[in-house]
């Protein structure tokens, strides 16, 4: 599997001098195509901060992040939206759907950002809703959907720009067991069938069943890295 996201000696520091706090403290990590990487760790360990920096949402204090071969830490602020638009899909714990838009329109808006509009956008949005099994909810507003359905719409929206990397922040935290499993199956499919890299920040142990690799963070550092497929092979 080729490396799609390369992180080297990454720091995120808040404050200066003696009061400085390293939210991310010298992380070096590779994310590969077709893998589902899980970031775990206690609250305040720097998982979400690391995820935000991976997705070019938060700027690193020092270190390097290469997205598909492009160094992003030195890019001007104004260039970062384009990097996010072209390389990443985001899934949030709170779904972050647009309440005034239907499921279909929520997906279409991501296409609109990529200037895909009209019937082409509608066709593509319907395909994505089919992929997450929610074609019948295309014209429903988010308020009429369950948590699991909302998260699947959010996944469809994240995939609208055809990103190679999907970053998910606690995607199952607000979901019941069955809905959480369904969401994880979809994310797993993205790695297996579409060769996308999926990075999931979670506290949810259910996610571990689908992980290829688990990175445990503590105090902003990588405390442990477990390659699940290798472990499975060892076990077998």
């Amino acid at each position: 599997m080729s490396v799609i996201l390369q992180i080297r000696d990454l720091y995120k520091t808040y404050g200066e001098g003696a009061s400085a706090v390293h939210a991310v403290n010298g992380v070096t990590l590779d994310v590969k195509r077709g893998e589902l990487l899980v970031l775990m760790g206690p609250s305040g360990s720097g998982k979400t901060t690391l995820l935000s920096m991976m997705g070019c949402i938060l700027r690193a204090s020092t270190g390097s992040i290469c997205v598909e071969g492009m160094e992003t830490t030195g890019l001007a602020e104004s260039h970062l939206p384009k990097v996010r638009l072209e390389h990443f899909g985001f899934i949030f714990q709170g779904f972050n759907l647009f309440p005034a838009l239907t499921s279909l329109e929520n997906v279409e808006i991501a296409l609109d950002l990529k200037k895909i509009r009209g019937s082409r956008a509608r066709q593509r949005a319907l395909e994505l809703l089919t992929q997450v099994g929610l074609t019948d909810k295309a014209h429903e507003f988010p308020e009429n959907l369950s948590g699991g359905q909302k998260q699947r719409i959010a996944i469809a929206r994240a995939l609208a720009g055809d990103p190679h990397i999907v970053l998910a922040d606690e995607p199952t935290a607000a979901l019941d067991s069955a809905s959480g499993r369904k969401v994880l199956e979809i994310l797993h499919e993205l790695t297996r069938e579409q060769n996308r890299a999926v990075v999931v920040v979670t506290h949810d142990p259910r996610v571990l069943d689908y992980a290829d690799r688990i990175v445990k963070l503590e105090d902003g550092r990588v405390a442990e890295e477990i390659v699940c497929s290798a472990m499975k092979e060892v076990v077998s």
Binding site: S52, L85, Q93, G94, P99, A100, E108
Partner: protein, 374 residues
């Protein structure tokens, strides 16, 4: 039009109603204040504007057309001797008291003009004719003031400063900007009403011969006639309007009302659009995280503001039309010419776009990392 802008606007109907109420009230206030100002501008100088007089000869230093004072009639001959002068006719314009049949009194402005030359005559006759003023004690009033002056129709009589006056016709739209209606009479009849002797007049109305330059004729008259001021019609119009509109502060006050309407509208719309933006901050943050640039956010917020302006404008124009129509039965003249309707549309767009600037600043400064906070 962005679907998000459209849907966000209509999603919260209470907020939309509040925004539109703000826009509508601000625009109505602007239309009425600007309309009053235009009406004021029109009526304060209408007697001069429509007079057909080329030059006005007045007592020295009069402030405006309504503030004339007597000058000797004999100076007419010196004025006539000036090169380029075609006609010089006496013209009276003074306040008087009109006695209603009930015995009550109303202030009026008597306009005495030369019926033969029509210099200074009323410009729109609804009933009767100017020639009817040749008879003794005859006057024309505007149909708008029938009730105010206790007149039902032609032939009704009243008293002006104790002299009999018989209504022989009605003008249309010859409205006064003061509470004192205009009463037109022949100059000869007006002498009694305004208590002038035949040896005096208030103004001389001059007609310039065709082909002569008014400014040159004015200079010639001024040189020939001592102890008077001479104005072209445009100068008299400017003098009169600037006195009433600027010097008295009335026009400025009206204009201030219009500007206040604009400011109130901006504040109300800015508040509601800002509140809506704050409500949708997480959505804008999500858009930024997804890769939307600032221009995309500008567009969404600006489109919401402009759509609010458009809807508010249509509603406000409808209400304003009723107000303007309703004003026709009252004394306050509110004009709503097409140019003002167009100008208010532009102002509505500017007001709403301006009001959205704070919101745009707020939205574009969102940290997209907020989307990861629960």
């Amino acid at each position: 039009m962005s679907k998000l802008a459209l849907r966000n606007l209509f999603h919260d109907k209470v907020r939309l109603a509040v925004t539109l109420t703000g826009v509508v009230f601000a625009l109505i206030l602007m239309v009425i204040q600007f309309g009053l100002f235009l009406g004021f501008l029109e009526t304060s100088g209408n007697v001069v504007e429509h007079s057909g007089i080329d030059l006005w000869i007045t007592a020295p230093g009069i402030p405006h057309v309504n503030g004339g004072s007597p000058i000797p009639e004999r100076r007419r001959y010196k004025a006539m001797a000036a090169e380029g002068v075609d006609l010089v006719k006496p013209y009276a314009f003074l306040f008087a008291n009109w006695k209603l049949p009930s015995g009550a009194q109303e202030a009026v402005q008597v306009v005495g003009f030369d019926v033969d030359s029509r210099l200074g005559a009323p410009w729109d006759i609804a009933e009767g004719s100017i020639d009817d003023l040749r008879g003794a004690d005859t006057v024309l009033i505007d149909e708008h003031y029938k009730k105010k002056l206790g007149v039902k129709g032609i032939g009704d009589t009243a008293e002006i400063n104790g002299h009999r006056a018989r209504v022989v016709g009605f003008t249309r739209g010859v409205l006064s900007f003061t509470t004192a209606p205009y009463v037109y009479a022949s100059f000869k009849n007006s002498l009694d009403y305004v208590q002038l002797t035949e040896k005096d007049t208030i103004f001389f109305a001059v007609r310039v011969k065709p082909g002569f330059n008014r400014q040159q004729v004015k200079a010639a008259v001024q040189a020939n006639v001592h102890g008077v001021d001479v104005y072209t019609n445009e100068e008299m119009l400017d003098k009169t309007r600037s006195y009433w509109v600027i010097s008295t502060g009335a026009g400025v006050t009206t204009l201030m009302g219009a500007v206040l309407g604009l400011l109130v509208g901006m504040v109300v719309v800015a508040q509601t659009i800002y509140a809506a933006t704050v409500d949708h901050l997480r959505e804008y943050g999500t858009l930024k995280a997804m890769g939307a640039n600032n221009a995309y956010l500008y567009r969404v917020i600006l489109q919401q503001a402009l759509l609010s302006a458009l809807m508010g404008y249509v509603l406000a124009m409808g209400v304003s039309w009723f107000v303007v129509e309703g004003s026709k039965s009252g004394d306050a003249v509110i004009l709503m010419p097409p140019a003002m309707i167009a100008a208010v549309f532009v102002l509505a767009l500017v007001m709403c776009a301006g009001a959205s600037i704070l919101s745009i600043r707020k939205a574009t400064r969102i940290d997209p990392a907020m989307v990861f906070r629960a």
